[in-house]
Symmetry: C2
Subunit: 203 residues, 2 copies
DNA sequence: TTGAAATATGAACAAATGTTCACTACCATT
DNA sequence: AATGGTAGTGAACATTTGTTCATATTTCAA
């Protein structure tokens, strides 16, 4: 079976600390975060997590308790986005990439799994991970992850074009017709974020 | 102006340690690596590197001296490869990507800056970073970084095809003619490594 | 209720480690 | 030779921090 509530909390805290600060927390910093008085309790839990294979340390060395699979900052990859920008949504999380979000210019960047060939003209392929930098507005011609209420069930990559009277969403593939939203219709278009990059892994 | 020899050595060591171990070295570990007796000298240099913006630390906290731009493991990106696999070649190093090499399956992966449109059919664009996993042999049809003595001045991405009597190197672009090497000629083809992935950053 | 497992507390020890200071050595330039 | 920047040595101090032990408290299922 899985982990205890406390064990999970502590594991999450370590991961989050390493992800954001790039430095492992000390045992006492973990204590302080949970309002505990002494390091003993946390230390025992660390031992448990180590035995389960979740974390590692170099015995005796300071600040070496860190996630096992690989230390360092990371970036979440989402399978799809159903509503709004997922802040801490665990549901659609496909994996954590061992990549510093700084690589793509912003701390809140995240990956979005690309499905289908709709962006093939931009050399983005099925299975690629599109890196999205969250924002609410884009310029004419930018590629962005967008959602359209009632039309696109999940966030999709489109080239966004603005006209006097509306918004046009283009797939980068001649096989797909552009979507046009005129007047009030345009309000249904929700910008998730701008395309900041691509990561592809060959099988 | 740049850094002193010692300063550069220490900076490189810190980067390498963080890259491979995921944990910052302690001041004394740095001393030991260079055969120094006391931590004082190194500490002074660390201060210099900090002031220059290369590294950061949380004053007083243990093991918090780490590369400034982003902690965690990283992967070197090379502009071009003139001869053999560059183990520690600093010359052609374009930058360090804050990406764990584990993402692409092997510790010795490195990035190679893609120039030109010769791989456009594989959806690899000018400016992309091709991730190369070093190896000496590839299978028929694999995409690899190759060099050809006297023909290709630097490592280039090609689709490698084997025939009864030789090797054919194809660019993934109809505008480029494939290169054919028959018989003994084939020995001039040197495989640098296999294409493991792509990282693209949009401007 | 009862008992085992998980947690928390308090105290204390030993190491690891950052940091500082004074002094010496080397090296290139003036 | 004098000077100034960079480096190395030795010693010492103060914290941070991992680790352990014994004991109390909570939780939760049998």
């Amino acid at each position: 079976m899985g982990l205890t509530k406390r064990q999970q909390e502590i594991l999450d805290f370590i991961r989050k600390q390493v992800r954001t600060h790039g430095v492992s927390p000390s045992v006492r910093e973990i204590c302080h975060h949970f309002g505990l008085k002494g390091p003993a309790g946390v230390h025992r839990i660390l031992k448990v997590l180590e035995q389960q294979g979740y974390i590692t340390s170099i015995p005796g060395k300071k600040r070496t308790w860190r996630p096992a699979g690989g230390a360092g900052r990371s970036m979440p990859v989402l399978g799809n986005i159903a509503a709004g920008i997922p802040i801490d949504a665990q549901e659609d999380l496909v994996e954590e990439l061992p990549v510093d979000t700084a690589l793509f210019g912003s701390d809140d960047c995240f990956g979005l799994l690309v499905k289908g060939d709709s962006m093939v003209d931009l050399h983005i392929m099925d299975g690629d991970i599109a890196i999205i930098r969250p924002c609410h507005q884009v310029e004419h011609g930018n590629v962005a992850a967008v959602m359209v209420q009632g039309v696109l069930p999940e966030a999709t990559l489109k080239t966004v074009k603005f006209h006097e009277d509306g918004i046009e969403l283009h797939a980068a593939n001649p096989l797909y017709e552009p979507l046009t939203f005129l007047g009030d219709e345009a309000r249904r278009v929700q910008i998730i974020g701008k395309l900041a990059g691509i990561i592809r892994r060959n099988r």
